[in-house]
Symmetry: C2
Subunit: 271 residues, 2 copies
Amino acid sequence: MAKKEENKTQKIQIRQSNKPLILVTNDDGVDAKGVRLLANIARKFGRVILVAPSGPQSGKSHAITFTSPLRISRIHAEKDFLIYKANNTPVDAVKLAQCVLLKDQKIDLLLAGINHGSNSSSSVFYSGTIAAAIEGCLNKIPSIGFSLADYSSSPHFETAEKAAHTIIQAVLENKLPENICLNVNIPNIPLEEMKGYRITRQGLNRWQEELEERFDPVGRPYYWLNGFLIETDDNEDTDEWALKNNYVSIHPIQTDLTAHSYIKTMKKWKF
Amino acid sequence: MAKKEENKTQKIQIRQSNKPLILVTNDDGVDAKGVRLLANIARKFGRVILVAPSGPQSGKSHAITFTSPLRISRIHAEKDFLIYKANNTPVDAVKLAQCVLLKDQKIDLLLAGINHGSNSSSSVFYSGTIAAAIEGCLNKIPSIGFSLADYSSSPHFETAEKAAHTIIQAVLENKLPENICLNVNIPNIPLEEMKGYRITRQGLNRWQEELEERFDPVGRPYYWLNGFLIETDDNEDTDEWALKNNYVSIHPIQTDLTAHSYIKTMKKWKF
């Protein structure tokens, strides 16, 4: 049996400072290159606490865990920079950071990513990275999700680094309104080929699933979920167009899902 | 070792008919009272296939599973009514239904619920029920999520039944535009107290988490996620107001998350 430890709360008191307090998270897990790079960029702007899932949580969207207990543990500490791993999902990690570690302390900025793979079009619904940014936004924290459009282990991080730095600076200067967060997608190209920044809308493209049917050793079927994006909406104002044309896409997301323009039509329905 | 079965695809051929083909799902699991009631209501309108998670999947949002295989199995069959249980999440169930069972067959309507508990305000982000409706919408299926504002085992299902029947009929008559689905919240009151139907917007209210800290037998902390909705936005046009005032709330949700009105402002930012 393990040695009994002292019951000790995990709430931490962050050093008072004029520097912004920045929460960094992701969905690829705390050891992913992307989140470590993002934390290092964030350190140029403020005090950083990195709280991320202990392992990969891609595709976990805005899932939260309330049927089993959550845990969080510190794995690194230095001046103005702490790293924690948490279970389970990215949104769980944000809630643990905000409600356990930083209870009652104002978070000035939430950064999620840098995701390995793009989160454009309808990927915003599946992405744990974007969900973490939306969760920050729901809690009135200016929040940005960053994604690099590549799944290899050695993508053009120099482009992602430059873009993230530029956009973080712009957000700190311009502020974001409540209920709006940013979904940033960065093309995987050498920095010198990057043409600039585009404010975009979400391309209204959907995933076409390919559920590959296989059979286990006793002949029972099982399925691997896979798919590809059907690009029917790649107009010049979309995130898809920006990525394809070597621009960084900055897509403002709102947390009000209401189809306001349709309410008037629906009010004519008879019930 | 189990006996080897014949490798046999699970794709099914639904009987040709003029009656709508209706997919029913939920996040409380295939055995929940709410989903069985919804399937029975749906049977009055068409041929029904109920495909739902094998167990509770509340709070799973739009999560999908691609790191482990998916399974689906039939548990009931009669004329124009089939029931399947699927792993893991509600959105997985929708994808399995659409891409494995009903491959290439048009689904006329997707119904999710009836959820045990409301899905108003920011709950739309966490709910597996609403995610299933959004998933249907992304796939161009007219989709409705139903939630009954009560967690007890014997809520006022007669009110939910009446509301669901009325709204399904209205959707089949009026159709829904692409990229818009409905989030229906039903107050838990006797039918005679129900005042009618309101077309609403999403109340911009957030959850205040309470992560309760406990200590395991060896003194290590763990946390139970819990919380309550902070109601700062309960104007007469919101879903919250409707529920509190004994109306059924019909909230049209759009799958375009773009903050269109903010794009013009952001274009003035300097990068």
